[in-house]
């Protein structure tokens, strides 16, 4: 006869409400982990979409995502001449905020030279950039369609096509512009930069001919490490492999988010543990007389410990399961990308089991100290 189950059935309302409360907490924990995974995937998504094995950036920077990087446009030709490099592209990156209708929209502007490396991986509607001015291809998550217009800086752009899998590490959907348009936009939006450059005596036309990075594909039998170490020796340039770029993104861009999310997750898990401990302790205190009676009629400690621990585990795992169902159902309408990985779910389930066991310790401790004579006292 399972006493834990019978007691729960008898106090079903309270148990269900506690489970629902826990499910919200654990659902948020799952969402946090999912957001974190989503951020990593988002961060790497662009690197994957750019499809380059070599990233060339400004010397001493870890750009172009983690740090700003500016290198001359003609770097691309120098890189293209390296033996083993098959395709190259010069690209700029910039986060901007704009308006569509009444809604604010944050976009990640990617400038590239149509025909060279760095453009959208595939077009899902409309067509790619033709080379005319003021055309744009957008990630479908902008919810813009071919034919739509969007004001960026001083110019109005026409959406000619949509793509997917192009989201910045910050979660902003990408908008692809021609390199010229992107460079002009960059200077439109940062007059202070122009002023500074002018003050240093650099002409505007020269500074518009900088890009954030040059990317390159290499032939299958070329070594990316070898080419990277070669470029490293050049005076003004740094280079990294796709793998290194991925590491930089997941480490430096996400480092802060990881700490914050880790902290929130920790706090939420702690709160869940405290709630479970309090509820289990209250449930145990409510049953003190029954526990004393059980001891009096000869029930071994095992029976009493089972009663408490099973309730605690049931509460935690039901809460976890409800939370999981909840999050899986709302993850697509969630404003940020949520990636729920089975292994993360399993680890959280493991943590829930551990906190349930720890939380029930308090109740078990109280129950084991109950004097069986308490049952006799009227």
């Amino acid at each position: 006869m399972n006493l834990a189950y019978r007691d729960v059935r008898h106090n079903l309302g309270r148990f269900i409400i506690t489970c629902i409360g826990l499910s919200l907490l654990l659902g948020v924990v799952l969402a946090m982990i999912g957001i974190y995974r989503g951020m990593i995937a988002d961060a790497l998504e662009l690197v994957d979409t750019m499809d380059a094995q070599i990233w060339v950036v400004e010397k001493g920077t870890r750009g172009p995502f983690a740090e700003a990087s500016r290198i001359p446009l003609d770097t691309r030709e120098a890189i293209a001449r390296i033996h083993g490099v098959t395709r190259t592209g010069a690209v700029t990156f910039q986060s901007i905020q704009t308006q569509t209708g009444s809604a604010k929209l944050r976009l990640y502007v990617i400038g590239y030279e149509p025909g060279e490396l760095g453009g959208p991986r595939r077009i899902i509607s409309g067509h790619g950039l033709t080379g005319r001015n003021f055309e744009a291809v957008v990630d479908r998550r902008t919810r813009l369609d071919p034919g739509d217009h969007i004001q960026l800086g001083r110019n109005n752009f026409t959406i000619v096509g949509t793509t997917d899998n192009a989201v910045s590490s910050g979660g902003e959907p990408a908008i692809y512009l021609s390199l010229d348009d992107a460079q002009r936009l960059q200077f439109d939006l940062s007059p202070s930069a122009i002023r500074k450059e002018r003050a240093r005596g650099i002409t505007t036309s020269a500074s518009t001919n900088t890009v954030s990075a040059v990317i390159a594909q290499i032939s299958p039998n070329a070594s990316d490490k070898h080419i990277v170490s070669m470029i490293q020796r050049w005076k003004h340039l740094s280079a990294m492999t796709r793998h290194q770029q991925g590491l930089i993104l997941t480490q430096s861009v996400i480092e802060k988010a990881r700490k914050q999310i880790g902290m929130f997750t920790g706090i939420l898990i702690l709160v869940s543990a405290v709630i479970i401990a309090l509820i289990i302790h209250t449930m145990t205190m409510d049953k003190i007389k029954e526990i004393a009676t059980l001891k009096l009629i000869g029930a071994p400690d095992r029976v009493i410990i089972n009663l408490i621990v099973q309730q605690s585990l049931a509460m935690g795992l039901i809460g976890f399961a409800l939370g999981g169902v909840l999050i899986s159902n709302i993850k697509d309408i969630f404003p940020k990308r949520l990636i729920l990985q089975p292994l993360d779910g399993l680890s959280l389930a493991g943590i829930v089991v551990i906190i349930c066991l720890l939380a029930s310790l308090y109740g078990v401790f109280t129950a084991l100290r109950v004097d069986p004579a308490k049952a006799l006292a009227g």
Binding site: E290, L296, G298, D371, A375
Partner: protein, 231 residues
């Protein structure tokens, strides 16, 4: 009858609480033998040590000195001689409480079956015996009711059924009839008498209830921790 070995045998049993200024001598040098088929009463004013004595016999309170024997087995002689006192209680002793102390989350039947499960019965056997006990106590029709929906008398009889479930040789009852009217109290006492005879058991009843005095074989009076035979 008296030449049998006593089911409960107490020699020079003392119990005090606290030390020095705060010392309370709850029992002083109490000796007592109780035999099978006996229904004995423990009387005395409040604070005289009745519950203390009952708790010691029930092995839930450790005496300060003296000897306690149950069914001829020495259980205490300055220290507990058994480490599994709960098992001992499960096997030998049935408790009946003033408040019925049924588990509110179990049905009447389950309240009885739980003891049988602890004693090793399987579910079918436990349920069968529990139902028999309920029928024996004429509350068989309430088997599936929860304690909250039982009358005081019904609940008390189910509690008695639980105390009897494992066929204990010793039944200890603290004020079992206090919550019952005289007719119900009489039924409960008749029942305990029946158990004493059917199961060759010893029944100890702590009571203030004058209406049941005439149904007791012996009445022992406790005053200031000392025992006086009143029968």
């Amino acid at each position: 009858m008296q030449q049998q070995t006593p089911l409960i045998s107490i020699q020079n049993l003392s119990k005090h609480f606290g030390e020095g200024e705060t010392r309370v001598d709850a029992l002083r040098e109490v000796s007592l033998d109780i035999f099978p088929e006996q229904v004995i009463g423990l009387l005395g004013p409040s604070g005289s040590g009745k519950s203390t004595l009952l708790n010691i016999i029930g092995c839930i309170l450790e005496p300060s000195s003296g000897i306690l024997q149950l069914e001829g087995e020495t259980v205490y002689d300055g220290r507990w001689l058994r480490s599994d006192l709960r098992r001992l209680r499960l096997e030998k002793i049935g408790f009946i409480f003033q408040a019925h102390n049924l588990m509110p989350f179990l049905t009447a039947l389950e309240n009885i079956a739980v003891v049988l499960h602890l004693a090793g019965y399987n579910t079918a056997a436990a349920n069968k015996r529990a139902q028999e006990l309920l029928d024996y106590l004429e509350v068989g029709n309430r088997a599936n009711s929860y304690p909250s929906s039982l009358s005081g008398g019904e609940a008390q009889r189910i509690a008695i059924a639980r105390a009897l479930a494992n066929k204990p040789k010793i039944v200890l009852a603290d004020e079992p009839t206090a919550a019952l009217d005289s007719e119900r109290a009489g039924i409960v006492m008749d029942l305990l008498r029946k158990v004493a005879i059917d199961q060759q058991a010893a029944i100890v009843v702590v009571t203030h209830d004058e209406k049941i005095y005439d149904r007791l074989d012996h009445i022992f009076q406790l005053r200031d921790g000392k025992l006086h035979d009143q029968s």
